[in-house]
């Protein structure tokens, strides 16, 4: 049976995630559909979802408009694996505040039991690329692309820390929910997308 992986196509770098996920599916030799999703109907057929990078305030407000936020919530509650990248991780978090502005009033999915700091490394001039590691999921080296990236300042007991950079938490996993502060879809390395596709495939069986 083929798996359906959706990329939330409200705003942000949707196409780059479609490309990376398609490559991951092919490299794993799996049978899978990778599709952009926007409506609750499209989301209801998914086995896994990626919430891509973009502006979290924009994605949040707009996914409220057509009730896709509610549908995503239902699916995650039923155990659907989800990968949140940068803005996507912000969307998945319970609380988010901006490094400068403080607490933000924005729609969140409130799953990841983490304290999240937006724009944690500074503005665009401070955006950076550096090698990081995610040993606990067998990815020893990964080139992290951090663009106005958030970080996690605190995690609850059910949350596994996958990676840190300069003492800041930059990747987490809680059950079938993964959040990263960096953008794996902007590199050639598909190892994180492969890890996620595998997770989707095994949780479906």
């Amino acid at each position: 049976m083929s798996i359906n992986v959706g990329i939330l196509a409200i705003q942000g770098d949707v196409q780059e995630n479609i490309d990376a996920t398609k490559r991951a599916v092919t490299e794993l030799g799996l049978d899978g559909n990778v599709i952009p999703v926007k409506t609750p109907e499209e989301i209801s057929n998914l086995d896994g979802l990626i919430i891509p990078g973009g502006e979290s305030t924009t994605i949040g407000h707009l996914s409220l408009v057509n009730s896709s936020l509610k549908k995503i919530k239902e699916k995650i509650e039923k155990g659907m694996p989800v990968l949140g990248i940068c803005a996507g991780m912000i969307m998945l978090s319970k609380t988010a505040s901006d490094r400068i502005i403080g607490k933000t009033d924005q729609p969140l999915l409130e799953f990841l039991d983490i304290k999240l700091e937006r724009n944690s490394f500074g503005r665009q001039r401070d955006s950076f690329q550096a090698d990081i590691s995610m040993d606990s999921i067998d990815i020893p080296v990964f080139n992290g692309v951090f663009i106005r990236a958030p970080s996690v300042s605190d995690v609850g007991s059910g949350v596994q820390v996958l990676s840190k950079f300069n003492d800041k938490i930059i990747a987490v996993k809680q059950g079938n929910i993964i959040g990263t502060a960096f953008h794996p879809e902007l590199t050639q390395d598909t190892s994180l997308h492969k890890y996620f596709v595998n997770l989707v495939s095994t949780s479906r069986n």
């Binding site: 705003q11 926007k38 990078g53 502006e55 707009l62 950076f128 690329q129 550096a130 106005r148």
Partner: protein, 322 residues
Amino acid sequence: MLPLSGERSDAKGIVCDKSSSGDVLHGTSTLKRGFAHMLKNGVVMDVTNVEQAQIAEEAGAVSVMVLDKLPSDVRKAGGVARTASIRIIEEIMSSVTIPVMAKCRIGHVYEARVLEETNVDMIDESEVLTPADETHHIWKWDFTTPFVNGARSLAEALRRIEEGAAMIRTKGEPGTGNVAEAVTHIKKVNDELRAIKAIYDSGDNQDLVRMAREFKVSYDIVEETAKLGRLPVVNFAAGGIATPADAAYLMSLGCDGIFVGSGIFNATDAKERARSIVLATTFWNEPEKVKEAQKMIDERQSMLGLDVKTLELRMQERGSSA
């Protein structure tokens, strides 16, 4: 994975910090172009003060562009239009969470330096302001901050990318509330992309070399672009967008997102208009939703607008020959 054609490894804007965990790079093409990719399917709104910036953020804008005057007011005021007050840019940066952009004059290296030091997230080297150099644009590889530039044709777009622009937008005709020119520019770029893609697919390298000479850019960037069949950077629509239907139309022509200048804050229903243009940009391929967005605004409150044929000042021509 990002297309990185035209990238320069010797770019002075790339800064390398050594840390205990290895090299930390800033200002690479991946980071600059990647930033622009995060704005896709979004709306960037021109603002002149904190209040407007907050309205834009609440409406769902992906970024705000700070100017001293909205483009239509620049037209009315005449004189020399320069970069915005740094104090206002800083006030806006400390009151919204979305990225903040600002404009500098074409070729004005030091307005750009000042904006980089202010820490804006992107610099627009813009024809809305009075050009400071008629023959040169800024060599943008020298900056860590990414740039966006306007273009009316594929040749102009590729010249700007070769100078280091991380994002392209149509020029349109700013401050007119008239989309006609933006439509012309995106269609021209699309036609020219189709033409070089066809040449690439036919395997006629001699003809690609001819195109590179005509465009006044290197063969490599023409070949890469022809192979991709699209610009190697994100391409937004700008210049004259005033309504949700305008935004949806330009998205349907293949633009990656929208810049709105005077169209929002020169209308008398700014809040509704900002929100409705965001909705129409997101759901452009669902006409029912675009209709709902269009219904949120009142045409009697749109900016009056200008017929492009009668204009004395055509901003789009600034910097085109270089």
